[in-house]
């Protein structure tokens, strides 16, 4: 089943009277439960594409269907609701809410977006914090933990709602090799357990090695795609 279908997707930014094309007629389809990497040099359109898939931005032209929903038809409120129900984000800079503890940061999407019952929230949050090895840090505030710990907490927050798709922009950029390996193993386990689709934008060879499908972007256009041998699909 295809969870992301992009047809002739283009995005042009307007800077005064100057038009800056970021994506140009990109078409692809992502199968549900796969781990996909978009690679390419800086300015190739990776982040723009991830923003479009995450419904954070709108395409200038083309069609983008995510989990059966035409994203062009979503208004501000509908977009927020769709993101909350369907997509998890792992930001490159973690983007933890500084006034909330690690536990509260992870709990936030369940509480404020999904309005899940307290017992269910507690179970899911503790389970995820344990899985990312952050259980002992749960009562600390983001400014009291390291970058790697923040990233792990951010991963737990992205996964806690069991989203169909997780978007990650350079998810291991701030992690050491061991932690990055642990995180990747965790993501694969979650994919295996829940059928979550992971879409990465990355330069990191560790992630590229783990991806089942790799799309290469160059100057806003899709320059190629390949399936990795030896990497199992869900």
């Amino acid at each position: 089943m295809q969870i992301v279908v992009a047809e002739n997707l283009s995005k042009t930014y307007q800077s005064g009277s100057v038009s800056v094309p970021a994506l140009n007629n990109v078409s692809f389809a992502i199968t549900s439960g796969s781990i996909v990497s978009f690679i390419g040099p800086s300015g190739s359109g990776k982040t723009t594409l991830l923003n479009l898939i995450g419904c954070l931005d709108r395409a200038t032209s083309g069609r983008l269907e995510i989990a059966g929903t035409d994203t062009a038809k979503l208004d501000r409120k509908g977009g927020a609701r769709f993101r909350g129900n369907t997509i998890g984000f792992i930001f490159q800079d973690f983007n933890m809410v500084p006034i909330l503890t690690v536990y509260e940061n992870v709990e936030y999407p369940l509480l404020m977006v999904r309005a899940a019952p307290a017992a269910e929230r507690k179970k899911l949050v503790l389970e995820l914090l344990d899985a990312v090895g952050m259980l002992d840090q749960k009562d600390k505030f983001p400014d009291q933990i390291s970058g790697g710990q923040k990233q792990r907490a951010a991963i737990a927050r992205a996964l806690v709602t069991r989203p169909k798709i997780v978007l990650a922009d350079e998810p291991t950029a701030n992690l050491d090799h061991t932690t990055a390996h642990k995180v990747l193993s965790l993501l694969k386990k979650i994919r295996d357990d829940h059928g979550t689709t992971f879409i990465f934008s990355t330069h990191d060879p560790k992630i590229v090695d783990e991806a089942e499908v790799i799309y290469t972007l160059e100057d806003g256009a899709l320059a190629g795609s390949r399936e990795q041998k030896g990497v199992e699909h869900a």
Binding site: K77, A80, G88, P98, M112, V113
Partner: protein, 412 residues
């Protein structure tokens, strides 16, 4: 909702110094309003009670047209017995009325046999008058308040000018409505403290003595002073009384009587109005302080937390919840300011009471300012501050909710 409160509260104390400063600014505004309202209210109440309970009464009823000529003491505009009976029957039927007093007003001359000067007199029944203006006996500086037949209560100003003391004989000369001049000898029964303003030359004699001087063939009354049980019911009673009396019309179909509250009869009413106006201005200033402070601090918050707002929006927080977070944050800031302001105001009012601050009004000195904060004012001011804080944070909150997540996330 509780979680939005928790988040708002934590965000508020994220910038402690700023929150405390803005909270104090709001508190200062609340203190200005509450202390001003309490002290001016105390001043007003004290003076109004002096005017109404020592002289005028709360309400006065006259024959139509009397008030316009009141300075001339028009004898041809007195109420006849029939009119008085009608008014009395209405007053007796109104349970809100504590007491009323029938008065004959007359202008005349007072002589100590060597000097003569003009004065105005009230012919009264002392028992009914003292029930209607209960502070009048306290104005009697020497002598007694009995006011026996043939006795006069001379105003302090005239007593001093004519060197009169209790027991001295005086002659009162007055002209009746037919134009004949009549005189009668009285004994000074007491010296009454002169009222501030135009009432400073008012003296008192018995109502029968007044009728005798004016040689009234039939009983006539110049005015009926009314004392209501509860001062805060004054306007209600006045409206009801006016409505009832307006049914009484003369043969030309015009109303026979006119009803006025003390506000129409005493110049101090204008000062009271000015005090009320000043209170309104101070309240407007409070609103401006709160609005500008909260608006400023919340706009700054949105600016500083743009990236965070982008994160919250990206992970699916609905725009309404983002609005609620900022509105509650602003509301809590206002609430803290209001609470601190009311506590400080309470302390300030207690300090003023403890200082026994005195002031004078007219010729009377030594009025002690006794301010107090009413719960109604506390709730009203707090509600205004809360409402304005919410309004002040609404624009920044809406701005936050309308931020494009992608642009907000790019913010540094």
């Amino acid at each position: 909702m509780l979680n939005i409160f928790k988040i708002a509260l934590r965000n508020l104390f994220r910038y402690k110094r700023r929150t405390i400063l803005v909270g104090l600014l709001i508190a200062l505004g609340v203190v200005a309003v509450q202390v001003f309202v309490a002290t001016s209210g105390s001043y007003k109440t004290l003076i109004v009670s002096q005017i109404t309970d020592a002289m005028l009464g709360h309400i006065q009823i006259h024959k139509k047209g009397y008030l316009v000529s009141i300075e001339n003491v028009p004898m041809n505009l007195n109420l006849n017995q029939h009119g008085v009976d009608k008014i009395e029957s209405i007053l007796k039927a109104m349970p809100e009325i504590e007491a009323y007093s029938l008065r004959i007003r007359l202008g005349g001359m007072i002589s100590n046999f060597t000097e003569t000067t003009n004065l105005r007199l009230y012919g009264i029944d002392p028992v009914r008058e003292f029930k209607t203006v209960p502070l009048l006996p306290k104005r009697i500086m020497s002598g007694t308040a009995e006011l026996k037949p043939g006795q006069i209560l001379v105003p302090q100003i005239l007593a001093r000018g004519l060197s009169l003391k209790v027991g001295d004989p005086v002659v009162i000369i007055a002209t009746n409505k037919d134009g004949s001049v009549n005189g009668k000898q009285f004994t000074v029964g007491g010296i009454v403290e002169s009222a501030p303003g135009p009432g400073g030359r008012d003296g008192y004699i018995g109502i029968a003595d007044a009728a005798e001087i004016l040689r009234m063939d039939e009983p006539e009354i110049s005015e009926i002073a009314v004392h209501v049980k509860h001062f805060d019911q004054l306007q209600t009673v006045n409206t009801a009384l006016t409505k009832q009396l307006s049914k009484e019309v003369n043969n030309k179909g015009k109303p026979m009587f006119e009803v006025h509250t003390w506000e129409k009869l005493a110049p101090f009413a204008n000062i009271a109005k000015m005090i009320d106006l000043l209170t309104v201005f101070i309240k407007i200033m409070l609103i401006a302080i709160v609005l500008i402070s909260v608006l400023d601090v919340m706009m700054m918050s949105v600016y500083e937390r743009t990236r965070e707002i982008g994160t919250l929006a990206a992970i699916g927080t609905l725009p309404g919840k983002i609005v609620a977070m900022f509105v509650i944050e602003g509301g809590l800031l206002g609430l803290f300011g209001a609470i601190a302001g009311n506590v400080l105001s309470f302390a300030g009012v207690l300090a003023i009471r403890a200082s026994h601050y005195t002031f004078s009004f007219g010729m009377k000195e030594g009025f002690v300012l006794d301010p107090s904060m009413r719960m109604g004012d506390v709730f009203f001011v707090s509600a205004v501050v809360l409402l304005v804080s919410i309004l002040g944070s609404l624009q920044p909150a809406l701005k936050a909710s309308r931020l494009e997540p992608i642009k907000a996330l790019r913010s540094v």
